[in-house]
């Protein structure tokens, strides 16, 4: 039986710590492709991810959705790998694969038995520069993407509300467009549009590879050099920075859709991390979010759902890393007998309570304890570890600073939390979105049954 080294061993053997801290390991190929390897020997598997620094925010009006459509086309073959063969070869290797497109990036991954890594690199390297964008394949695949849009957005009232609210909250920044694209843009898209996108952005110097798993980093570097090394770099077109003009007054939008319950989203413009050392508010906002909605007795659930029963559910969403502008969302569904206005007032009330009275030491300590525990749980997932590296890099922040970010979070004070509650929740930076539920049969709803409230 193998013994786990004790804390003491780590304390007494600083050289061991040094070696362990080198993990993840990194190299850059001559063509500019970065290879990042997180060794994790707990199981004989590996995750191979290729991240392209290209997402829906790089699209232009009239061509929304092309980043995602190209992601679909990436499975449609090269001169040496037939349509659908990519999936077949991953499956034959005992692997699972998929891809995802976000506003900031497009990423492709395979989860595989570790010995298949070289074969996966061969396949990914091949489609990095040699994709065939066949018009006939495109004509089928664009229909699939439209079905995906119908499923995810058109028939999903909350998604539709979010999509429309986003288009109002932002007026010029490309984040205002949906990742999957407007239906009309999909209808107008051609294979040539997808090909142009690919030719412009799919080059090794616009990508990085993240590998986690039971691998040796030196062997992975050698494999990467073999497979990705021969691909030529090419200069990228300049990207014009687009700055959303300052919002100067609240905005409101209502979306009608078949549903039973109304939904409320309040979107506030919020900062994201650009400088891990100098920035402080994004850390404080993250701790605020944890105090309001980090566990079942956090403020929103305790006060709004359980005690006052003004909401069936209430939450906060805030991601403090992104390439583009940040946004913080308060959201919820009013309880029976309560209106969205009641819920909006209650959510505002909770923010005001923090601004006025601050947060307790116990609440802050609890949020920090949860954060530290989650750092351990995170290590249970090979996929999650690779995702974390990929995502932070996509926002233009170095993964080497993940530990420093955690330190900065642990250093947030109650006064910091109180300060951001006073700073970022002004009405002038607010967009309110309301889902107005409609009966399925198109007929007016029966009058609501009186409630005991």
């Amino acid at each position: 039986m193998r013994m786990r080294p004790r804390l003491l061993t780590a304390l007494l053997c600083p050289w061991l710590i040094g070696a362990a801290l080198a993990n993840p390991f990194e190299t850059t190929l001559d063509n500019g492709l970065r290879i990042i390897v997180k060794e994790d020997r707990r199981a004989p598997t590996a995750v191979h991810m290729v991240w392209y620094r290209i997402g829906s925010m790089d699209e232009v009006d009239g061509a929304s959705g092309v980043a995602h459509v190209l992601e679909h086309m990436m499975f449609k073959g090269t001169p040496t790998v037939g349509p659908g063969e990519f999936n077949q070869r991953v499956a034959a290797a005992g692997g699972r694969d998929n891809a995802f497109t976000s506003r900031d990036y497009t990423a492709y991954f395979q989860q595989i038995p570790k010995e298949k890594l070289g074969e996966m690199m061969h396949l990914e390297a091949d489609r990095m520069r040699h994709l065939t964008v066949d018009a006939k394949e495109f004509a089928q695949e664009i229909k699939v993407v439209m079905e995906e849009r119908r499923m995810r957005t058109d028939d999903n009232p909350e998604a539709k509300l979010f999509e429309q609210m986003n288009a109002v909250a932002l007026q010029t920044h490309p984040y205002r467009r949906p990742i999957i694209g407007w239906m009309n843009d999909l209808e107008n898209m051609s294979a040539a549009d997808a090909k142009a996108w690919y030719d412009t952005w799919y080059v090794p110097n616009n990508a990085y590879v993240v590998i986690s798993g039971d691998v040796d980093h030196q062997e992975v570097f050698a494999l990467a050099k073999t497979h990705y090394g021969p691909l030529a770099a090419r200069p990228l077109p300049p990207r014009k920075q687009q700055v959303e003009p300052r919002q100067e007054g609240p905005r409101r939008i209502t979306v009608k859709a078949p549903a039973e319950l109304p939904t409320l989203i309040m979107a506030y413009k919020a900062p994201v991390l650009r400088d891990i050392e100098k920035d402080s508010d994004p850390y404080a906002l993250q701790m605020l979010a944890a105090i309001l909605d980090g566990h079942d007795a956090a403020r929103f659930n305790k006060k709004l759902v359980r005690e006052e029963k003004v909401a069936l559910a209430a939450g906060i969403e805030y991601d403090n890393t992104a390439r583009g502008p940040g946004m913080l969302y308060l959201h919820g569904t009013p309880a029976a007998g309560k209106t969205v206005a009641d819920l909006e007032a209650a959510l505002r009330g909770e923010i005001e309570r923090v601004r006025r009275d601050g947060v307790s030491a116990a609440e802050l300590k609890r949020a920090k304890a949860q954060l530290l525990a989650s750092e351990v749980y995170k290590l249970d997932s090979m996929f999650g570890q690779a995702m974390e590296i990929g995502q932070i890099e996509s926002a233009g922040l170095p993964y080497r600073q993940l530990g420093r970010m955690l330190e900065k979070l642990q250093a947030v004070s109650a006064a910091d939390v109180q300060a951001v509650a006073g700073k970022y929740f002004a009405d002038d930076a607010l967009t309110v979105g309301v889902l107005d539920p409609q009966p399925l049969d198109g007929k007016p709803r029966r009058p609501a049954i009186p409630t005991r409230h």
């Binding site: 786990r4 005992g94 695949e141």
Partner: protein, 433 residues
């Protein structure tokens, strides 16, 4: 917290994560003195612990007219137990970075705890877990609140095409069996505190419990934890199952809805857990609609015609005969065409079975990807909890690959013929033109 301490914390994590794991999953199994089954997997790589307790207390045990009782009973377990109210439970768990999870499905009600394994940390979560299982308060005011929330969620679900289709599918497949009964706002409204306490007393017993542990524990520690959990439970007795479901006569259920896409489900009751045909059906279904992007359904429905983003088939073996199901969503105007095509793909597969090439590809993936099913504590927990709850052989995981490899095309064809009779297939559509 101090920066140096966090640095140290990270260093220790990095060291721990770099340790090699032993191959395979070694399941230790025993019964507690009170009679609960226990499965334990030592996993010393990370300083964490997962404990899951499964009871045969799912919705199949809902009494007639009281649909939703199993789910509501489970939901209230950790909303106040013994000396703690719901706020104390949530705060104390959060203070040590622990989570309680779980839920109720047709067969099982589960409570799972994820915690750091350091003794002073895990003690908090385990104490709360024991109390939640054995001494839930079922406070009247919380029951009323959760009934209202459940009822609202059910009403909302009845506007969503995906949920409407799923409920109608189970109702049509199991007209006479509890698997076909659904909670409604009315059935929820009729539930009282006495119903919950009676359900809890009857089903949350040691005889009805399966405890699964994985994490940084010794066998002796695992034994002690399992003893302490089950000692608080009444001994109880295994509860009888309802008569097994019958396969119905097939047909079509069409439900109107204004959605842009039709939701389509096709299927019938097929097999139970532990059935000897499981492996031929698993291997065969990989080719039909289980193999993600490489299945026949995916190729025909999505790749060749662009009818759907998602199309799949699977067997869902349960305590009693669980369903076989094909599912897809497509533009409402082409629903008929997509259904005809899916049924044609199925009919051809039933007639021919997999080709030798397809069979080989299915086996290569199912055996080759086996390590991916077990590469985290979470995944091992899920697998071992199923083995424990359903009483599958302890060598189930060890023999998984050889049993997949042994399947022949003739066995696939014969197993499908036994369990998937085209005339008995029920088709449910929501929002199809």
């Amino acid at each position: 917290m101090k920066r140096a301490m966090i640095r140290l914390f990270f260093s220790v994590l990095a060291l721990l994560a770099a340790l090699p794991a032993t191959a395979g999953v070694v399941i230790e199994h025993w019964h507690t003195a009170a009679g609960a089954r226990v499965q334990f997997v030592a996993s010393r790589g990370l300083p964490m612990l997962d404990v899951q307790v499964d009871f045969a207390a799912g919705s199949m045990f809902d009494p007639a007219g009281k649909s939703g009782l199993a789910a509501l009973t489970r939901a209230l377990l950790d909303l106040g137990a013994a000396s703690r109210d719901e706020t104390a439970i949530a705060e104390e768990l959060a203070d040590v970075g622990a989570h309680l999870g779980g839920g109720a499905d047709t067969d099982r009600a589960s409570v799972s705890l994820r915690t750091l394994s350091a003794p002073e940390k895990r003690a908090v979560g385990l104490d709360i877990l024991r109390a939640a299982l054995a001494q839930p308060r079922f406070e009247a005011s919380i029951l009323e609140r959760e009934k209202e929330r459940t009822s609202a969620a059910l009403k909302e679900a009845m506007t969503r095409p995906h949920s409407i289709a799923g409920k109608a599918f189970w109702a049509a497949l199991y007209p006479e069996h509890p698997y076909g009964r659904q909670a409604t706002p009315e059935s929820i409204a009729a539930l009282g505190r006495d119903d919950l306490t009676a359900f809890h007393a009857r089903y949350y017993t040691a005889a009805n419990a399966s405890i699964t542990l994985i994490g940084d524990l010794s066998r002796a520690e695992a034994e002690q934890i399992a003893e302490q959990i089950s000692a608080r439970l009444p001994p109880g007795a295994p509860q009888p199952l309802p008569p097994p479901p019958a396969v119905g006569s097939g047909g079509v259920t069409a439900i109107a809805h204004p959605a842009t896409q039709a939701h389509i489900l096709i299927g019938l009751p097929a097999i139970e857990r532990g059935h000897p045909d499981f492996f031929p059906l698993l291997v065969g279904n990989y080719t039909l609609g289980g193999g993600g992007f490489v299945s026949r359904l995916m190729k025909e429905v999505r790749d060749k015609r662009g009818f759907a983003y998602s199309v799949y088939s699977y067997f869902s073996p349960l305590k009693q005969t669980g369903p076989f199901q094909i599912g897809l969503q497509t533009k409402r105007s082409q629903a008929r065409e997509a259904i005809a095509l899916s049924r044609e793909v199925l009919a051809r597969f039933l007639a021919e079975g997999p080709s030798e090439e397809e069979l080989a590809a299915a086996k290569a993936n199912l055996t080759g990807s086996f390590p991916l099913r077990l590469d985290s504590n979470r995944k091992i927990l899920d697998n071992v909890a199923v083995i424990g709850f359903y009483g599958l052989p302890l060598d189930y995981l060890d023999r998984y690959q050889e049993r997949v490899a042994a399947v022949t095309a003739a066995e696939v064809k014969a197993a499908f013929a036994r369990h998937v009779q085209p005339a008995a297939l029920r088709t449910v559509t929501v929002a199809a033109d």
